[in-house]
Amino acid sequence: MINYILLVSRQGKVRLAKWFTTMPSKAKAKIIKDVTQQVLARRTRMCNFLEYKDTKVVYRRYASLFFVCGTGSADNELITLEIVHRYVEVLDRYFGNVCELDLIFNFQKAYAILDELIIAGELQESSKKSVLRVVTQADTVEEQENAENTMARLGSRSGPLM
């Protein structure tokens, strides 16, 4: 199973951090720091696997972002890479040619998509289509609710707040 997924920029900034194991925040911070350092030190043309303590780190770079997964040492490295790739594909479809800024400004969406793909460190849905369907449905609900909200505000006050 996957223990954590990090998205780290080339400058070492964390763009997303999802933990599937319970751990004190200090330990998390240490792992983020150490693993980021190790991953950033890697060069192109090296393999996508690292060892960190007893765990394995599978990472892949997409444009300016590193997608980093921590897994158990007995897990299949290649399938973890596939999962990462699947995530990137869904992000790409959702945002349409996704870039780092999309993820920065819509970080909650990045989390939501990840939640649709992986729960409790296990892949829950391998179909891109169904993941996208759920996420866009949620967007529709949000729009509706926002619209209702605006209407309500218009009704209760003389005008919108801003």
């Binding site: 199973m1 900034k13 964390v14 763009r15 997303l16 951090a17 933990w19 599937f20 319970t22 004190p24 925040s25 911070a29 060069r43 043309r45 090296m46 393999c47 996508n48 696997f49 690292l50 060892e51 007995a74 299949n76 490295e77 290649l78 399938i79 890479l81 596939e82 920065i104 400004f105 970080f107 909650q108 989390y111 939501a112 939640d115 649709e116 729960i119 409790a120 296990e122 892949l123 829950q124 849905e125 391998s126 179909s127 169904s130 759920v134 449905q137 949620a138 609900v141 949000e142 609710e145 926002n146 909200n149 707040l161 801003m162």
Partner: protein, 873 residues
């Protein structure tokens, strides 16, 4: 009333990179007020901003309650914000989690969208309490009408069972039903969960094998297949029939699947599932090995990595299959990628055998050679260019890393010494490797090298002449002494060098010169334990040399001996004031012995006039011959240091020494002070007893190191009165001591901070002082067998293996892998030396060529690679 949205916050952060903390402090202040607002939208916006800051490492624990508020919002999009914040920020000990139970129950029975969000987040922050309270709901949801809820519930139930194992009983039957679900993603989720569970208790899941086997044969979903194969990897070691049954489908999959990840999983399962051992396993193993070999040569580094990883697991059972690809594998040691190198290193160490040890070790050693040397880097770059076009500088970077160098160094030592040098054919070569390693390692591994040097020389007698030669050179080399205080100088090898020369003085070619080297003032730069060994070794070398001279005495020797003795005395004198007690003691000891010798030399009249020699000077010693024509004291030291031969002792030797009757290890050596009642004194006592143990160990170690009795009759004389004193201890004193001891024990029993041994202390409290320590030297008073064992074991501790002195040794370490030893009336004397002889015979027969190799290496490490060029194809 302008509130900052998340977008504004992020923009602000990007615009204020220089004083980020200040900007964030301001933002958090705003958030604090916003989050208290009654407007749920505003509150949710604040929580969202906090979640973002939390990701950057700023704590949001203080806002937990507000997060729960947002979670309870009736609007879906606000609820998601709340649940996201909860999943990201709640810890196991977050107190507001107690408040969420009912909220979660409500949301889990709400509309499907809410349920989905709740399940996603719940699986992140579930605690054991929540797991207990919500497990009935979750188990019920395993049968939810919608597949996308079912699969979430399945995955969430895994986390619940982790936190609250009792939930498993109710969840397990339903979970198994889900294997037959008509939605594939539900089946996949179930298999995922079962895979994790089966990893923990494989035996519990053997019953699932038929259903999984059916899935294996019918499914074409690779995600699913990989996990099923993985489950079989966990459970098949517990069911031999399964192994047989799986061979066909797995072989099919391996030969046909285009998906490398699946192929890899199959190969991996074959290996860990024990499918390569049974009938038909060989062809499967061949298939696996050939697939893996293709991966190793693949330009894709990832495949290379997993191939090396998997091969390491095949090696133990099918070494010959992997050996075919040895060259490729060794070439991978030069990969620029540290991950691949480490895997290759593991694999290579697993592959080591008698014939390839030397080339492999030299290959590893070459990685430690400083990069300034042009040759290896050139060769390396050459091999590098064959596989990739990365510049040399990057390819060599890993060699600089201290951690990597340490791993390499340790690996060299461990592969050479495994199973007591099972694979080392040529010990001269091995010694040279050790010395080279000490020179080039530049990492803190000197202590290990020292131990290995001592061990090899102790076990392999035939190597001693060569060892002494090499060690003499090492002792004459000032570079170690100069760098002794640097990190990674490996100056500990000097300890071994001195020890070896001292133990085998017969092979020292120029004793006088060596003694001068060993006692020059610069050695004060070395660590104290090394200095102590230096002094001791110098004494032994002198002793041997002097006795040697005495055997063919000519009167012209006299000035030389006198001057050398004088030299020793002057130098040793300086160490009698040394800060470290061990050095001081040794120095003082040596000095006294030499005063004695000097006096004898002064009194010695050449031309046979030594009858004048005052008898009492030499009288105490049992000099072998009373020939008058040489100074008798020349034999003094050798008789002290060479009384016993040096042999390694079996590992179990110490344990086999019976504790002598009446030896109470818990008794005080020095009775504790009377006012023993305060806590303070308990502390002191603990310390004291520890000190006692320490001292004892030290004693053992020392006699072990020296391996020979160096306490002379003088010492015995000094010790004897102590014994007498103990004997004279009156009855009343003893009773008094007993009483105090009992009192103290009672005291300690009351003390909650002190754990006492329940075992009643031995009744006859004959104290330590009265037993062996003294009699050891005195001899004769103990039973002979006991005494002998004792002595040998005392000698053992440093050396730890095969002695020719008692029964256990034979059983102890049999280096060459010889079978069960012959049991004879005095078997110890036969068994182990035989294997030594074997070894040395081996050494002899193999020496000529490999030694050449060593020589070239020693002259210029750059040439080391010549015997085994990397030759990547």
């Amino acid at each position: 009333m302008w509130e900052r949205t998340l977008k504004d916050l992020i923009r602000g952060l990007r615009a204020n990179k220089k004083d980020e903390p200040k900007f964030i402090a301001k933002a958090v202040d705003e958030i604090r007020s916003e989050i208290r607002s009654d407007d749920m939208d505003l509150k949710a916006g604040a929580v969202m901003k906090l979640t973002y800051l939390d990701m950057m490492g700023y704590d949001m624990g203080w806002a937990s309650f507000h997060v729960v508020e947002v979670m309870s919002s009736s609007k879906y999009h606000l609820k998601t914000v709340g649940y996201l914040a909860a999943a990201q920020s709640f810890q196991q000990d977050t107190d507001v989690l107690m408040l969420t139970t009912n909220l979660l129950k409500k949301d889990l029975s709400s509309n499907p969208a809410d349920v989905a969000v709740t399940l996603n987040s719940f699986s992140s922050f579930v605690t054991s309490d929540l797991a207990r309270d919500l497990s009935p709901e979750l188990v019920g949801m395993l049968n939810h009408s919608r597949p996308h809820i079912r699969k979430r519930a399945i995955l969430a139930i895994y986390r619940v069972c982790e936190k609250y194992p009792d939930a498993m009983t109710s969840a397990r039957p339903r979970l198994e039903e889900k294997l037959d679900d008509n939605d594939t993603s539900v089946v996949a989720a179930t298999v995922n969960v079962l895979c994790e569970l089966a990893k923990r208790n494989p035996k519990d899941y053997l019953t699932l094998a038929p259903r999984l086997f059916h899935l294996l044969n019918t499914s074409s979903n690779n995600w699913l297949l990989i996990k099923i194969i993985k489950i079989f990897g966990s459970i098949s070691p517990h069911e031999p029939r399964l192994v047989k049954k799986l061979q066909t489908p797995i072989t099919d999959l391996i030969s046909t699947t285009p998906a490398i990840s699946l192929l890899y999983e199959c190969v991996h399962t074959c290996i860990i599932g024990g499918m390569l051992q049974g009938p038909g396993g060989n062809s499967l193993a061949k298939l696996c090995a050939s697939k893996l070999a293709a991966f190793i040569q693949d330009p894709d580094q990832n495949l290379k990595y997993i191939a090396l990883l998997a091969m390491t697991k095949i090696v133990p059972s099918h070494p010959h299959l992997v050996a075919e690809y040895q060259d490729t594998i060794i070439a991978s040691l030069n990969d620029q990628d540290i991950s691949i190198r480490m895997r290759a290193l593991d694999l290579v160490s697993a592959m080591v055998n008698r014939s390839n040890l030397q080339s492999i070790v030299q290959q590893i050693l070459s990685h430690l050679v400083p990069e300034a040397l042009p040759k290896p880097s050139a060769a390396q770059s050459l091999s590098q260019n064959m596989t990739s076009s990365t510049p040399i500088t990057t390819s060599l970077a890993p060699n600089q890393s201290a951690a990597y160098r340490l791993v390499l160094s340790q690996r060299i030592l461990s592969i050479c010494s495994q199973n007591t040098y099972q694979y080392v054919m040529n010990f001269e070569w091995y010694l040279s490797v050790l010395v080279d390693l000490a020179h080039i390692a530049n990492i803190d591994i000197g202590g290990d090298i020292r131990d290995h040097l001592v061990d090899v020389v102790g076990r392999v007698k035939a190597i001693q002449p060569f060892a002494v030669k090499v060690m003499q050179a090492l002792l004459a080399d000032d570079s170690f002494i100069l760098n002794a205080n640097d990190k990674g100088s490996c100056s500990e090898v000097l300890w071994a060098a001195a020890w070896i020369c001292g133990e085998c003085p017969e092979y020292v070619s120029e004793p006088q010169k060596l003694i001068t080297h060993m006692l020059k003032p610069e050695i004060s730069n070395l660590p104290p334990d090394t200095i102590a060994v230096y002094i001791q070794a110098a004494l032994k070398i002198f002793g041997f040399w002097a006795a040697d001279l005495a055997e063919h005495w000519q009167d012209d020797y006299l000035p030389t001996v006198k001057s050398t003795a004088g030299l020793v005395m002057t130098h040793v004198q300086e160490f009698t004031g040394n800060f470290h007690v061990e050095v001081q003691e040794r120095a003082a000891e040596v000095l006294q012995l030499f005063r004695f010798i000097q006096a004898d030399l002064q009194n010695f009249q050449p031309h046979g006039s030594s009858q004048d020699l005052p008898d009492e000077v030499v009288g105490g010693f049992d000099v072998p011959s009373a020939e008058p024509h040489f100074p008798k004291s020349l034999y003094l030291i050798r008789s002290l240091t060479a009384a016993y031969t040096l042999n390694p002792v079996a590992a179990a030797a110490q344990a086999s020494v019976p504790v002598p009757d009446g030896l109470d290890l818990d008794a005080w050596i020095v009775p504790p002070p009377q006012e023993d009642l305060s806590e303070e004194s308990v502390d002191r006592k603990k310390k004291k007893s520890k000190k006692g143990k320490e001292k004892e160990r030290d004693d053992i170690k020392r006699s072990g190191k020296k391996k020979r009795k160096q306490e002379d009759n003088n010492n015995l004389a000094v010790l004897a009165p102590t014994e007498a004193e103990v004997e004279t201890e009156t009855e009343t004193e003893r009773a008094e001591r007993e009483r105090r001891k009992a009192e103290r024990l009672a005291q300690l029993r009351e003390d909650p901070y002190y754990i006492i041994d329940d075992k009643p202390s031995k009744p006859a409290a004959i104290d330590v002082d009265s037993i062996p320590v003294v009699k050891l030297e005195g001899m004769g008073s103990l039973l002979p067998s006991v005494k002998e064992n004792w002595l040998s074991s005392l000698k053992s501790t440093v050396q730890a293996t095969t002695s020719s002195h008692f029964v256990v040794d034979r059983e102890g370490e049999m280096p060459g892998g010889s079978g069960s030893p012959i049991v004879q009336p005095s078997p110890q004397r036969v068994a182990t030396p035989v294997s030594f002889q074997d070894r040395s015979a081996d050494t002899r027969t193999h020496t000529p060529e490999p030694i050449q190799v060593t020589r070239t290496k020693k002259k210029g490490t750059g040439k080391k690679r010549t015997p085994n060029p990397p030759a990547p194809s």
